[in-house]
């Protein structure tokens, strides 16, 4: 026949967090790990409810209620700080001798291990707590490494976007790419034509049909421009509805004029946005790198701009070449209109 002491000794090995109470609810013995929780003030001889506050099930008010809970999950909290939460299960002892309650920290084990300075000896060898602590640490370390990687990748992504050469809406080159191309051509001593194209009536498309329609138009414009140029020409969108086309080695004014005409005609074809018909046009101004003895991107862009301005003034849907007199005309015109 097993004595009470035998049971307590056995239980201390297997369940180091057990409590045994008598029929009045006084703690008669408990497992060794719980000694670390009571800060030298042994639970033995105390009333169970003075040590632990039963939080659920709520209907349990008295010890006899508690004895009725056999097999149910119980939620406790330490009455003393740090008010650690615990889970438990109760089994009544035979012949009304009280009950055996096994406790566990549940999810609060991470705090409990620190608060009470627990070691692996405080848990039964079959308890998975140590494995859980291991897993928490391992996962935290791995997560931290992943987080660091994400931060670095995020930084790299922002840097890459800043360095990108593509206009994300149209897939054309962007202004940075155009600058790069112009510098490369000039430093390589190559001749090229530079055409500045500005859409007409684009603002009214945006205003009438909304920005989504405007985006569709810009994408269609980009496709037409790529279609009208050679594979190795550069087509860049450098502003909202402003485009720059760079034709390496194409210095024939007639061919450039034809190309501009064809481009403007194609751009005037209606573009469908759902059931809406968007109509735009374009003006273009072109200059040749040979206009300048020592070509410079800013100066060439300015010349193309002057030509574009002249084209717009000549009525929309026009194409003009830069000529040295144009700037003077422009100034004259501005003075007149002022």
């Amino acid at each position: 026949m097993m004595t009470f002491d035998d049971l307590a000794a056995l239980a201390s090995q297997v369940c180091p967090m057990h409590v045994m109470i008598d029929a009045e609810g006084t703690v008669t013995s408990h497992g060794p790990t719980l000694l670390k929780l009571c800060d030298g003030d042994d639970w033995k001889g105390k009333s169970f409810f003075d040590v632990l506050d039963l939080q659920r099930p709520r209907w349990v008010k008295t010890i006899s209620d508690l004895l009725e809970t056999a097999g149910c999950k119980l939620h406790f909290q330490l009455r003393e700080a740090p008010h650690t939460r615990m889970k438990g299960v109760l089994v009544p002892l035979p012949d009304g001798q009280g009950a055996f309650i096994n406790l566990s920290f549940g999810i609060s084990v991470l705090d409990a291990v620190r608060d009470f300075n627990l070691t692996s000896q405080d848990f039964s060898p079959t308890d998975l707590t140590i494995e859980m602590l291991y897993l928490v640490e391992a996962k935290s370390a791995a997560m931290e490494a992943s987080r660091q990687l994400n931060l670095r990748l995020q930084g790299a992504k922002i840097a890459a976007e800043e360095q990108a050469f593509t206009d994300t809406l149209t897939g054309l080159k962007n202004r940075r790419a155009m600058d790069h191309v112009l510098n490369r051509l000039i430093s390589g001593g190559r001749d090229f034509a530079l055409m500045h194209v500005d859409l007409d009536f684009f603002k009214s498309v945006n205003d009438t049909f909304g920005h989504a329609a405007g985006d569709t138009v810009l994408q269609r414009v980009a496709a037409i421009m790529v279609d009208c140029t050679r594979k190795f020409d550069t087509v860049a969108r450098i502003g909202g509805d402003e485009f720059v086309l760079v034709f390496e080695g194409l210095m024939d004014r007639n061919r450039l004029q034809d190309l501009a005409r064809r481009l403007i005609t194609r751009l005037e074809e209606p573009i469908m946005y759902g059931v809406d018909e968007c109509r735009i046009s374009a003006s273009a101004g072109t200059t040749l790198s040979t206009e300048l003895a020592s070509p410079d991107p800013a100066a060439l862009l300015h010349q193309a701009d002057v030509a574009l301005y002249a084209a717009k003034r000549a009525g929309r849907a026009q194409h003009m070449f830069y000529a040295p007199g144009l700037e003077a005309e422009m100034v004259e015109h501005d003075t007149k209109s002022a």
Binding site: L110, E137, S140, L149
Partner: protein
């Protein structure tokens, strides 16, 4: 090879020899980047090129360097997390040795794409063990030797380690435990880590 392994070598070199040395080694490796990411996986040949460049640059046998990497992994405060994870293996050195059988599974539990070759501990006699390191990761047995040595210090155990050749394709490390409580080990507190 998993980035964690490459990164471990990187951390060792930078901490022991400095950033400049690591820069030279990576330039010499001609991989086109200067740092390994812990959470990415790299092709085998990139790791091999780095290790060859490492050996050239430090002018020491690779086996010796890798053993130092193993020691570094356990003893350097920078990588305290790994030492703590290893200490979860047991309360004394012998228990720790027995936990090595589970090490590859434990590693995969933490980082699911980290595949470490199998380890098998064979107890030849009381205090006399052979650790079989299965092939799969270049220099695994050398790094493990360093780890075992540093963990012995950590537990305060006195051991003799010897890489005693191969058995059925596995590298064998023989471990002789002279005294399990030779010195005061380093403290291990289950909850010391801020979680």
């Amino acid at each position: 090879m998993h980035g964690l392994i490459n990164r471990a070598v990187q951390a060792f070199v930078i901490s022991t020899y400095g950033d400049k040395r690591w820069g030279e080694i990576m330039d010499d490796s001609e991989l086109g980047f200067s740092e390994f990411e812990a959470m990415l996986v790299y092709p085998e040949d990139q790791s091999s090129r780095m290790l060859r460049a490492l050996e050239r640059n430090l002018q020491r046998p690779l086996a010796e360097i890798l053993e130092d990497v193993g020691t570094f992994l356990v003893s350097n405060p920078q990588v305290e997390a790994l030492r703590r994870l290893l200490r979860f293996g047991g309360v004394n050195y012998v228990e720790f040795l027995h936990s090595l059988d589970d090490l590859p599974d434990r590693a995969r539990l933490a980082v699911s794409d980290l595949h470490l070759p199998g380890l098998e501990l064979i107890e030849q006699a009381p205090g006399q063990f052979d650790l079989l390191c299965q092939p799969g990761v270049q220099g695994y047995a050398q790094v493990m030797t360093g780890v075992l040595r540093a963990m012995a210090d950590d537990y305060g155990a006195l051991v003799i380690l010897d890489q005693s050749g191969t058995r059925d394709g596995a590298d064998v490390i023989s471990i002789t435990l002279i005294e399990s409580e030779f010195a005061e080990g380093r403290a291990f507190d289950l909850g010391a880590h801020s979680l």
